[in-house]
């Protein structure tokens, strides 16, 4: 009887071990489609400057200040529209702001999000804006540790490569990170 019990115990233990092994194998695919971080270098991601008017492709939120309408180009910057004559509004320029999605303006100072930072931009000269100040790392921005999906494999983040500005699909070989 005792012997029989141990046999059952042993079998159970082995079965569990096997399951464990299988689970391990399943957890470390040799190659699988997952996600990889897209890095931006500091010089590029934090660059804010006036640029020529350009097409509105991924138009985001809008804002009216005096004679100007502003529309966010999601993740890329802010379109400036002269709307003094709303029957004939004209795009007059673009402010490059990586990672932006929000806008608010007071007294010629435009507040927006530049990835994780709040930036105050002086728009007194609407054709040549300048950064007045920056409050660093107050917004979550794009998650710096993992992609915005559950149950996926991804290339582990290497902060030395820069700030994560997005995630892209990629065929991963021996991935080490999973969410």
């Amino acid at each position: 009887m005792i012997q029989k019990k141990s046999v059952i115990g042993l079998t159970a233990a082995i079965t569990l071990l096997l399951f464990g092994l299988v689970a391990c194998v399943e957890k470390t695919p040799k190659s699988i489609t997952g996600y990889a971080p897209v890095y931006g270098d500091t010089a590029t991601t934090l660059l804010i400057q006036s640029e020529p008017a350009r097409p509105i492709v991924h138009g985001g939120k809008i804002y009216q200040y005096q004679n100007y309408t502003f529309q966010i180009e999601n993740g890329e910057g802010i379109h400036i529209i002269n709307s003094s004559n709303p029957a004939n509004p004209q795009k007059i320029g673009f402010i490059r702001v990586g990672g932006c999605s929000e806008i608010s303006i007071r007294n010629n100072i435009l507040y927006t999000d530049n990835h994780q930072d709040l930036v105050a931009i002086n728009i007194s000269n609407i054709n040549q804006v300048s950064v007045a100040s920056r409050v660093e790392r107050v917004f979550p921005g794009i998650n710096q540790s993992y992609p915005p999906y559950n149950g996926v494999w991804f290339e582990c983040v290497d902060p030395s490569k820069g700030i994560v500005i997005g995630w892209t699909e990629k065929l991963l070989v021996n991935p080490k990170c999973k969410r």
């Binding site: 138009g59 804002y63 200040y65 007294n107």
Partner: protein, 248 residues
């Protein structure tokens, strides 16, 4: 584009007051603030910039506009979508709830109430007595509910749902006098008479173009498109007329 469920609360007077304030301050260099839509996550109240992100409300002092100073971070909840100021209140919309914060002490927002609804995300607008909010079903919020919800907020600590109006796929909204504009994708720009919030009447629908949000001003209204901005003359609310647009 993220699939969005929208929660809009539109407070009647606030929009009127915002417009009024802008008009008054437009020539005043010391206090000139712009106007955003109902989807906004940044808003300026007096000398403070309030921002919401996924979980938090951030407070920045902008007494010196060029040098904002971070003052406070308050955890609100999950999936915060939009913020709308009215008087001493901030209305904050998340995926599943509407929160009302008191900012009498501007650097220390205090929660006054919250209303949980089944689903919904996004923008808010309100006045002393009524809040309008759109709930937009979608994959992210896991619901099929699409409606305009109307809350009596006379008692700010106990918002009461007084009406549910079915919608197709509502997004941003805006208020001008006693007229409510709702961007209802699939149907059009709905124009509603909300003079009696207990008996809201559909006036008409402007169809043909998909708008995501609106900013009603004195005589002009801006409408957000995914590839530009449209301008309407709203001086006659019985017949608003598109007068211009910037596209592509």
């Amino acid at each position: 584009m993220k699939p969005i469920k929208l929660l809009f609360i539109l407070l009647l007077l606030s929009t009127w007051m915002a417009c009024d304030k802008n008009t008054l301050s437009s020539g005043d260099n010391f206090n000139s603030t712009g106007q955003g839509g109902s989807l906004a996550r940044f808003t300026i109240v007096n000398n403070y910039l309030y921002t919401v992100d996924g979980m938090n409300l951030n407070v920045f002092n902008i007494s010196t506009p060029a040098s904002p100073v971070f003052k406070n971070k308050v955890q609100i909840g999950f999936d915060i979508e939009a913020i709308f100021p009215f008087n001493n209140q901030l209305f904050i919309a998340s995926n599943s709830a509407m929160y009302i914060y008191n900012i009498s002490n501007p650097e220390q927002p205090v929660q006054e109430s919250f209303v949980q609804h089944l689903t919904g995300c996004d923008p808010i607008v309100a006045n002393d007595s009524i809040a309008f909010l759109t709930v937009h079903g979608g994959t992210r919020c896991g619901s099929m509910i699409n409606q305009l919800q109307v809350y009596d907020i006379t008692n700010i600590t106990y918002p009461q749902l007084i009406a549910n109006i079915p919608m197709t796929n509502p997004m941003g909204l805006g208020l001008k006098d006693s007229v409510l504009f709702v961007c209802d994708n699939g149907t059009g720009l709905r124009v509603l008479n909300v003079k009696n919030p207990y008996q809201i009447q559909s006036m008409y629908v402007v169809s043909g173009q998909q708008y995501l949000d609106v900013i009603p001003m004195d005589s002009t209204m801006l409408c957000m498109m995914s590839n530009g901005v449209a301008y309407f003359d709203i001086s006659n609310l019985n017949q608003i007329v598109k007068i211009g647009e910037v596209k592509n």
